[in-house]
């Protein structure tokens, strides 16, 4: 458990204890000190607990484990372990080009103003559909909009391997088209093999993909 989570649990325990005093001995709030303690216990601490909890939950929602906790995402999680450098998500994940603990979020957030908020609102919609709606089959899942090169260029722009890449630098027009999102990085003939879950059964894996839902739910 992280230190911040431990601190939060301690704060929650302290707040519950403080509130319990007023629930079982309400006369305690009659004095000035009691009123101040009641204000802390009933107002300040609960809001602090929820604020800290919200922040911790938001951080947790960026984790790969969180994204893969929905069963329909399992094939996408498995595709990160495919032993083929041509599979873009797998090669990024296995070579730590993206933080493995936040692999999904790193590529599927939106690196624009309010992009993180947009990604999180999208995530809330996914949860609504998953628990209260009719979730699609894994192979029916599509992006809301075509994958934007901005997300790739967030890391790759300026990198020597990208700027001096044989194909990228072959023609200045190609580079301009990539940077202006006219030519998609994941277009056919380029880095087209993204989560190819339809052929997952035919793939060789680098390691056995871990079971992210051992307890099931």
């Amino acid at each position: 458990m992280h230190l911040s989570a431990l601190l939060l649990i301690l704060l929650i325990a302290l707040t519950v204890a403080l509130i319990a005093v007023f629930v079982f001995r309400p006369q305690t709030s009659a004095t000035t000190a009691g009123k101040i303690a009641a204000f802390l216990g009933f107002f300040a601490f609960p809001l602090l607990c929820v604020g800290m909890g919200f922040s911790a939950q938001m951080d947790n929602s960026k984790s790969t484990k969180f994204c893969l906790s929905c069963h329909i995402m399992e094939p996408y999680g498995k595709s990160l372990w495919i032993d083929d450098p041509g599979h873009i998500p797998a090669s990024h994940f296995q070579n730590h080009r993206v933080p493995p603990d936040e692999a999904c979020y790193t590529c599927h957030t939106n690196y624009a103003m309010f992009g993180s908020l947009k990604a999180k609102l999208g995530g809330l919609r996914h949860m609504y559909v998953y628990y209260l709606g009719t979730p699609p089959k894994p192979d029916e899942i599509k992006l809301y909009e075509p994958y934007n090169n901005r997300e790739c260029l967030h890391c790759h722009a300026g990198a020597r391997s990208f700027e001096e890449g044989v194909v990228h630098a072959a023609d200045p027009a190609i580079m301009a088209d990539i940077k202006s999102n006219k030519l998609s990085c994941v277009s056919s003939g380029c880095h087209e093999t993204v989560h190819d879950i339809a052929k997952l059964g035919e793939q060789k894996f680098w390691k056995e993909p871990p079971d992210v839902n051992p307890s099931d739910h």
């Binding site: 519950v16 309400p26 009933f42 609960p46 909890g53 939950q57 929602s61 998953y130 628990y131």
Partner: protein, 68 residues
Amino acid sequence: MSIPRTTEGRLKVVGLILICALIVEAFSFVGHGAIAFMVFSAAAAVLVCVGVPAYLLTLVREGQESSR
């Protein structure tokens, strides 16, 4: 359930709501998946959002009653 008429009674109800909220919040940290997030946002946060204004309302009512 009748609404408590005394400040002490109201504080008891608000306190129980907040204790429930905080216990649910603590339990939401046991899990790491989407369910934990749902439990936190749909139960813990909602209960705190009910409990804290209820506490403030209790203070306002107490002030009104003592000024009469």
